[in-house]
Structures are given as C-alpha cells and as structure tokens.
Amino acid sequence: MEEEEEEARGLLSSGPHEAGSDAPATPGALPALCDPSRLAHRLLVLLLMCLLGFGSYFCYDNPAALQTQVKRDMQVNTTKFMLLYAWYSWPNVVLCFLGGFLIDRVFGIRWGTIIFSCFVCIGQVIFALGGIFNAFWLMEFGRFVFGIGGESLAVAQNTYAVSWFKGKELNLVFGLQLSMARIGSTVNMNLMGWLYSKVEASLGSAGHTTLGITLLIGGITCILSLICALALAYLDQRAERILHKEQGRTGEVIKLTDVKDFSLPLWLIFVICVCYYVAVFPFIGLGKVFFIEKFGFSSQAASAINSVVYVISAPMSPIFGLLVDKTGKNIIWVLCAVVTTLASHILLAFTLWNPWIAMTLLGLSYSLLACALWPMVAFVVPEHQLGTAYGFMQSIQNLGLAIVSILAGMILDTRGYLFLELFFIACVSLSLLAVVLLYLVNRAQGGNLNYSARQREEMKLSHSE
C-alpha cells in the first residue's frame, strides 16, 4: 500500500519534466541524480544493488557467528547445529534451475526481487522466532524459507546489474557486488557475538530469548535489503518509462535434457567445484569454535580470524580476476588454488601454528579458485547450454553443501576436529585429483581449457576469419 503511494508520488513529481521532454537525452531537465541516463543516477542504483544482497549475506552466516550461543541456548549438538546450514542449501538444489525461469517468465525482475527479499526477511524472522519460542524445528524452518530467497536473490541482483550496466561498467559492478557480499559476511562474523552480549546485558541473562532477539535485530539488515528491492523496482520502472529500457532478464534457458550432452571435462569441473566448496563453507560454519577450542583464541579473535577468508576475498577477487584474464592457463590457476587450500587445511590439522597463516592462504586460494574455475564452464559448453550448465553446477554445489554440513557436524561430534580436518583434506584432495584428471583429459583431447590468453586471442581471430 505504502509503496504504491510512494510510487504514485514519484510519478507525479517527475511527471511535468517528462511531459516537456519525452526524449531521454535532455541534459539539465532532471538533476543528475534523478536522470537514469546519467552516471550519478547509475551510481545510486549501484549502491542500492550492493545493499540489496547485504542482508542475505549478513544473515547467512549468523549461525557461524553465534555457534556457541545457538548450541548452548537451544541445547543442540553440532550435528543438529549444522542442519541450519543444510536447510539453507536444500531448497537451492532445485531453485538454481528455477530461479532464472521465475524471474524471466513468472514474476519479472522487479517483483521477483521483492518476493525473494520478502522470503529472506520472513525466513530470518521465523529463524529468530524459533529462538524466542525455544523451538529448534522452527529455526530450521526459518533457514529453509531464508534459503528459498537467498540464492535466487543473488541471481536477481546479477540480472539487475546486467540490465543497468551491460556494456558499461559491468565487470566492476559484479566485483563491487561480490565485495559487498563479503563485507556483509565479515560484519556479521564480528558483530553478532558483541550484539548477543549487549542483548544479554540488557535482558539480564543468556538464553534462547536472548538468542532470538539478537537474531531479530540481525534481521534489520534484511528489512534494509527489502527496502532496497522496493526502491530498485521503482527506479527500474521509472527508467523503463523514461529511457524505454527493457525489463532485465536473466536470459537463462534451462533444459535438463542437455545434461546428457555434458562432456567429461564439464563433469570434472563439477567435481572440482563441489569437492572444493564443501571444504570451505562448512569449515567456516564450524570455524569459530574450532579456533577457540584448538588454538585457545578469545571469542572475538576467533570471529575475526573466521572472517579472514571473506576479508581477503573482497579486495583480491577483482585482482585475481584480472590476473586470470591476462594470463589464461585456467587449469594451472585452479591447480594452484586447490593445492594451496590443501596446504592450508593440512596446516590447520597438523600444526599448532598461528591459524592466521592457514586462513590467509585459504582466503587467497578461495578467491583465486572462484576467478579461474567458473569461467572455464564457458569454454567447454556451447553458449545455448550455458544456463543449464551453471544451474547444474550451483545445484550440485548446494546438494554437496547440504550433505557435507550434516556429515561435518556428525564427524565433529563423534571423532573430533582432527578427523573433521582429515575429512576436509580428503575432499580437497578429491578435488585435486579431478583437477589433475581435467588437465590430462584436456591435454589428451587437445582442449582449449589451458590456453594462455594469447592463444585464446589467436583462436578467436582464426575463428572469425
């Protein structure tokens, strides 16, 4: 209701200007900030886009930041605690295929974004209510609802970016969005524990109510994101009217029958992806308490070090992206990233060295892998199957994350951290095996995955001739 009024007011206020100038390029007719064709306005939109994802990334790792508190206040073991992550991943096993379809065909980008933001908000509120009412199943349900919104919101965010910045500053925008996501995660890691203690101080005691209220306060970031979604919808519609710009589309075409055409290298890339990410995200989910229990860190120091991966990823992603673009040789870069991650987990498992070393390595390799692995899909899949391939990759990644989250909790409860780390080492080593295989298969088939940037340039020229 309120939004509609706001929109109406917006229409009225911009009405007279438009009446005088139906062409978009009328300098000075609108202030730069309000003119959709001007950079200043696009920067405003960029800001909104970045904040759009902030809430969901902030709340995604709420359980990791409050692991001790969740386990104590809700009286659950690590296995049940990790279900909070598994429940986030389950809906996304399917939604990775559906997200693009829903945005393009059913809701449209604007309503799609608003609806997914609502899911994120409602999910977080249910999650918090589960704490207040001391019902762990309600918390799990909350994470499920949150998961429905979370990943699809990221797709919507990318679609907005493409629609506003295609052919202009698109790569920069993607980079900034990613950085903002990492900042959201980092702020969460370092803020939630402090917030919990403040709520505890004002309530006078710790307990499930304290936890619920802390999570509810954390949910404010989701409301903020929802407001951004509404504002973006309004601005996008306004731009459509003024610039006759088309509504953004993901352009994803998902055909599940394409799966049978997937080549061996693509399957190997999937294996690398799943085995790699399951050794990173569930580890971060359990990381805080690991640093407290094994290395004797304080709660705050443990939060800080657990967020190192995200902190490093924020500035390094664009740099590594540039590096991989300039040099090519993607498989070699992926190999470096996987080997470094393996080394980092080995350091965490078998030494008592300061974990800053291992976590820094993990942060660097994680950023490098993202930059080198994901573009490889485009080299081995024809363009019309690209949507299916990426959807499939994300889907099995989520499947892997859901299963491994549960497994990791169980291993930790029964066998301890050394075995948990061994399990992660085994996963990364499987990923390494797949990289080596990919290299060999690519070599044997004369594939283009490991071309240097110059070879790629030459290939492009020879094709266009």
Partner: protein
C-alpha cells in the same frame, strides 16, 4: 611451575627428551627401567584385627622391578605410588599401628632400599559453589561457595563387594557420615580404581592411553542434591613425596583430539627426575554417563600451592608410609562453568585421571589417520606422475589447431 602454553609444531611435546621421543615412536611405551610386560594383580588386604577396612593393593611385577599402588579410604581417599627395582618387593601392613592415632611405620614396602620412587595423592575435600549465569567468561571467580564436604568424614562401602579381578577394578563408594540436609540421601561419590594387564584405551571418553605401568581413577558424583540451582563442584587434591618440593604442573597442547573430541590439552603432574611418577588427565569432565561431546564440561586446575599437612584432613596410610611431615602441596580442580552443560542437568559428574610411574604415555597418530593422509596425498600425486609419464612417453597426438598452424 612449569607450563608451556606456546603452540608449537607437531604433537606439542614440552621439553622433549630422548626417552619421551622414543615412546612417541613406539605405540607401547616403555615402563620403568624398560619393562615391557608386567604381571598385574589386585588384592584387598584384610584386617585380621577387627572390622573390614578398605585397603587395596595393586601390584605390577616386571622382570626386575615392581610397582605398588596402595589405595585406601581410611581417612580421606588416598593412594601411594611406590616403584622398586626388584620383582620381590612386598607390602607389609601392621594393622594395629595403622589404625592407631600414630600410624607411622604401620605400612611399608620392603626391602626399603629397593624403593626408587614414592609419592602419594590424597583427595581431601569436595567443593561446591554457585555459579553466576553469564556467558561472560571474564566474570570469574565463581559465585558463593557452600561449606565443603570433607572426604575424611565420609563413610565408604566395603570394596570387597565391588572388586572385579577380571577387569582389575574396584570402587570406593561413599557418602557423608553427617548429612543433615540429606543431600546424599540418593547419591554418592565414587572413586573407581582400575589397573590394566595390557596397554590400550577405555571405550569411554576421555580415553586416556593406559599401560601396565598405570592405574586409572574415575571420580563420579552421582545423584547428590546440589545446594544451589547451578552448583559447580570441585575437588581438592594434596600431594606428598619424599622431598619437600612440589611436583610440576604441565599443560601439553597437541593437535590430536581423535580420542577426546575437541580437547587438545593434556594436563600433567610430574615429580622430579626419572624414574618418577606422573598424573595425567584431560581437562574435561562429563555430565552424562556416555561422555559425549555435548556433555563435556571444562575442568580447570589451580596452580599447585604449598600448604601445611595439618591444615588438611590426614590420611593414615600416607602418614604410615612417609612418617610425620609438615609440608605438602595441593591443587584444586573445578568442573564445569556457568555456561554450557553442568551437574544440574542429570545430577551426574565424572572425571578421570591416569596415575603411573615411569614415562607418561603419549598419544600417537592412529593408523587410520596416517592411512587417510597417505591416500589423500598419494592418489593425486600418483595420478600426476602416471599422467605425466603417459603424456611424455605415450603416442604423440597433435591437436587439430596445431596441425592447421
């Protein structure tokens, strides 16, 4: 006090010496003077003079040495550790003297000159205090304390009833003589003592590695009504030895928590020079019988402090063996904190320690861990090697792009 907090590479051994390193290499650690097998026996020494008394003698006989552990609940529960360099040393008890007010010399290990090492532990008091419900770890020390239970004023069951020669174990189960509040009406404090005829680990956490040279004590408080809603319990332990010096307390940090999930620390009490005695325990207690990770409570230990013998409840067997002494050392153990699980959950608390003479057992990485690492690192390496050789030596194939160029 000797402690090493410094994280370091590998198994976190503090002050490594060649003997410790040897035992790290071999899974079965060497005992006193290199004994590899011992004949371990357990017997209750009967009191021919009057009512039965709890005096348990564990004897571990090797080819050229004997270890004696004498447990008793005369007075507060106490244990004597004596190591001798002959397989023929024996315990002699003069009951009339031992039960008299001046028990000096009432209990001896003969021949006296064969004794290489001797020491004693006395469990003097059970503390109880209220915890403040806060997650702020800095809010220590714990809240108000209730009057402690003096374990000298407990009455103990007859251990002959709980003696199990098959598992080499016996349990001292006691409750206060004077219990006006009825706190122990349905509860008891139990000291379960176990010796071992081979090295291995118990099934229940903390799964300390034991050898034939060692003896395990499990202290369990079961069913006693706490005096506060969130009562924490503690145990006061006194040590006596041949000399006036306190043993040293050592905290070892290791990378290995496969036997006690999420516990990376091992606390040790070490007496002087080799051959010497040791007490080791994981800083963890459990609030449930199955000892899962959810029921794990932290166990804090105070630094050792010198004190005067007469300030603490006296143990006749310790007095009988060592004679009148003025000085001893004591330390306190505290189980649990205000956050997390506690005794209040199920009115159950258990904590274990290992007591021995010689080199303390050291955890090595299990074959399973080494196997997983070998496969995890070996498989990609071999694949790289095999693939590399195949590409180098195998049939040359040119890609179509190269052939065009």
């Amino acid at each position: 006090m000797y402690s090493c907090e410094e994280p370091r590479w590998g198994w976190g051994r503090c002050a490594p010496n060649p003997i410790l390193f040897l035992s790290l290499l071999s899974v079965a650690p060497f005992g006193l003077l290199g004994e590899e097998t011992r004949q371990v026996s357990l017997e209750v020494i009967p009191n021919q003079m009057g009512p039965p008394q709890n005096l348990l003698h564990i004897r571990a006989v090797g080819t050229n040495s004997t270890l004696h552990y004498v447990w008793s609940s005369l007075g507060p529960p106490a244990v004597l550790l004596v190591a001798t360099n002959t397989p023929n040393s024996a315990l002699t008890v003069n009951w009339s003297r031992l039960l008299s007010p001046e028990p000096d010399g009432g209990l001896m290990i003969l021949p006296k000159d064969s004794i290489q090492f001797s020491s004693a532990l006395v469990f003097t008091r059970l503390f109880e205090f209220d915890s403040i419900n806060t997650s702020d770890a800095a809010a220590k020390p714990p809240g108000k304390s209730y009057p402690p239970y003096s374990l000298a004023d407990f009455s103990w069951n007859n251990i002959t009833d709980s003696l199990d020669p098959a598992t080499l174990s016996a349990t001292f189960r006691g409750h206060p003589n004077h219990d006006p509040t009825g706190a122990f009406a349905n509860g008891s404090l139990a000291f379960r003592v176990q010796a071992f005829s081979r090295s291995g680990r118990p099934a229940q956490p903390p799964r300390l590695l034991h050898t034939m040279d060692t003896c395990q004590l499990e202290v369990a408080l079961v069913g006693a009504s706490p005096r506060g809603n969130r009562s924490l319990f503690g145990l006061e332990v006194a040590t006596l030895g041949q000399g006036p010096d306190c043993p040293s307390m050592q905290e070892q940090h290791s990378i290995n928590d496969e036997y006690t999930p999420a516990i990376f620390q091992l606390d040790q009490l070490l007496w002087g020079s080799f051959p010497s005695g040791f007490v080791q325990w994981r800083p963890v207690a459990f609030s449930q019988k199955q000892g899962s990770r959810e029921s794990a409570l932290p166990c804090q230990v105070s630094p050792l402090f010198p004190t005067l013998v007469y300030l603490l409840p006296q143990s006749p067997i310790v007095r009988a063996f060592f004679g009148a002494q003025n000085n001893c050392c004591a330390f306190n153990l505290t189980f649990g904190d205000s956050t997390g699980p506690g005794y209040w959950d199920q009115h159950y608390l258990s904590w274990s320690m290992l007591l021995g003479v010689g080199t303390p057992p050291v955890d090595a990485l299990s074959p399973l861990v080494l196997g997983i690492m070998a496969v995890a690192l070996g498989a990609p390496g071999l694949m790289l090697l095999a693939g590399g050789l195949f590409l180098l030596l195998g049939p040359k194939r040119y890609s179509e792009y190269q052939s065009i160029n």
